[in-house]
Amino acid sequence: MPYNIASVLPLHKSRSLANKLLVWSVTSSFLNQVRCLVFEFHLTKLTLLGGIESHIYQLSSKLIDRGHKVIVITHAYKGRTGVRYLTNGLKIYHVPFFVIYRETTFPTVFSFFPIFRNIVIRENIDIVHGHASLSSFCGEAILHARTMGLRTVFTDHSLFGFADAASILTNKLLKFTLSDVDHAICVSHTCKENTVLRASLDPLMVSVIPNAVVAENFCPLSHTTTRAPDQALSSPTDPPMSPRIIGPDDPITIVVISRLFYNKGTDLLIASIPRILASNPNTRFIIAGSGPKAIDLEQMLERNVLQDKVELLGSVRHEEVRDVMVRGDIYLHPSLTEAFGTVIVEAASCGLYVVCTRVGGIPEVLPQHMTTFAKPEEDDIVLATSKAIAALRSNKVRTDRFHDQVKMMYSWRDVAARTERVYEGIIGDISPEEFYGYYPGQGWDASGDRVRSFALVDRLKRYYGCGVWAGKLFCLCVVIDFLIYVFLEMWFPRANIDIARSWPRKPPARKSLDNQ
């Protein structure tokens, strides 16, 4: 059954808080479980709220392909305001807000409600899907959607600490958002653990659906584009292409593409580059990205006179990333915190051997033979990089196969199918037993309290448990929101709202998609 989904997203991923993050280091690898999950999920309909634009675009297009209707609600920004359409009939509402300073909008706890209600009614939305956690926009939309009696899903893309003041505040906000949400989606198991702890959620109400990459956009140089896609899929059994032989004296190029921020591990990078170059002759670095740490990096290069060995490219656009990546042999990712790390999947897809820190969700992302892990400290990164260079020099790593392997592991179609199952579960198209699991004789009922009722009293009960003061404050917000809703129903009656036409589309190719 196709659904109408509204996605809400903030366009500007705030990085100010991210700079203060704690280092998240989780060692267990969940990769095998992730792969099993892939084929268990199916999909329904949603509204996305929040900020990871390409994630939303890819997911939305695939959901539209599966016969759902997706609209995206986001902030207006300079040059982009009003209602727009993208390819595939994806409709985007850039909601104008009163802008205080630059792109910062006033915290619009309730002022967003009238326009949100109007959009939801005119588009016949059933599910509201919010993205990202730092945006108050997303939390508001979920609150309003619940008040209007819609099912809500929340996707968390980030990891947070628990200790500092900013985190405590953010966690309260997250708790507010997630208290009444029907289901949450995290991009990795580490992220799920983090979210469950931060928002005191029932773990069964949180699903893990990783990000994906468009593998076609990240082909290695040697990859022949003329190969038919079905051939590419069955390539592991094909006669192997002749791998590139790296001799003991051939140059090895290490690529780093990241924003140069503290939480991206730029300090580690700055400390380890001279040591890596000193201990491994014939090694070069290509560093792309910009940020506040760029000056430190340049100073280090000048101090050690490494300009001829390290190439700084500055910031590159997303479509140029592949062209930078294919110039290298190793991708170094020294991040201190990462919920998923899409970039290392892109690097592996380009046929690069990946050296990364064992933090956050990174260990879940790629199989062992594609990566060398390091602790997030200088000595270990130098060691791991040297190991990786040695492994490449000895031609033990079949990087030429990485692309096809990554293509088998990650696809947006798959992400969409799994998201669809979450939608089906919360809408009630599949039974709670099937959705949450059936555990007879365990003394508890899997479907127990998970189907969230829309009754105001039940909602207030859930919010009241959020904290001594916060609980009361949240309850007040919910009651005000409800009163505003009643007022809006009188002032702007539903009957007066024009129903928008859906984008005309071909019959959904769902059967053929499921068969694949």
Partner: protein, 204 residues
């Protein structure tokens, strides 16, 4: 009040779409009330004129100008009572109240917007003015300058509304048809189809 659409086709190559949010007076009671409203407006206008003349009697309406003998009027019973009444109020306040009443008398109370399409010639949009005193604001766009006629959506206040717009060559902004009434989507689609058929479809 939602707008209503009226289509007129005086000739096969001409069509006029009128959207009006004036109340529909179909019952006899509504018609009687409408007649009473007109009478009331006329009466109020008369009152304001009389009060105005009384107020200005020392300046303009003094002597016998051969047509009306003003001293005779002012000294009559009705005239003197009127003078007392008007003089007992601040002249400025009287002037302001008069202006307000005049505005109410001539206020239209509804908006009527129309789109006239003539094949091979162009289209004309018009929006009725707020009062009966001024004429409608019109805009003519020749066929050669019309790039397209589209229906789109935009944020207006707390709502997202559909609008019909004419994209004019060489102008940065599109010309919105029915900018004040902003009728429902069904009406806009009817107008859009009708105007495109009239402009571009040679067979109709």
């Amino acid at each position: 009040m939602p707008g209503r659409l009226k289509i007129q086709r005086p000739s096969p190559t001409t069509v006029s779409f009128t959207v009006s949010n004036a109340p529909q007076r179909s019952s006899s009671l509504a018609k009687i009330l409408f007649a009473l409203q007109i009478l009331l407006r006329a009466f109020l206008f008369l009152c304001v004129v009389v009060v105005g003349i009384t107020l200005l009697r020392h300046l303009v309406f003094e002597g016998d100008d051969g047509f009306i003998s003003w001293p005779l009027v002012w000294s009559s019973t009705l005239g003197s009572k009127l003078c007392c009444l008007v003089d007992s109020y601040n002249p400025l306040a009287v002037a302001m109240v008069s202006a307000l009443v005049i505005y109410c008398v001539f206020r239209r109370g509804y908006t009527e917007e129309s789109l006239l399409v003539i094949r091979g010639f162009g289209i004309q949009t018009s929006t009725s003015s707020a009062t009966y005193l001024s004429t409608a604001a019109t805009r003519f766009i020749p066929t050669t300058q019309i790039q397209d006629i589209v229906i789109h959506e935009a944020f207006k206040g707390f709502e997202v509304r559909f609008y019909l717009a004419v994209i004019v060559e060489g102008e940065p902004n599109a010309v919105v048809v029915f900018p004040h009434t902003l009728p429902k989507r069904e009406i806009l689609e009817q107008v859009w189809r009708g105007s495109r058929r009239c402009l571009y479809d040679a067979k109709s």
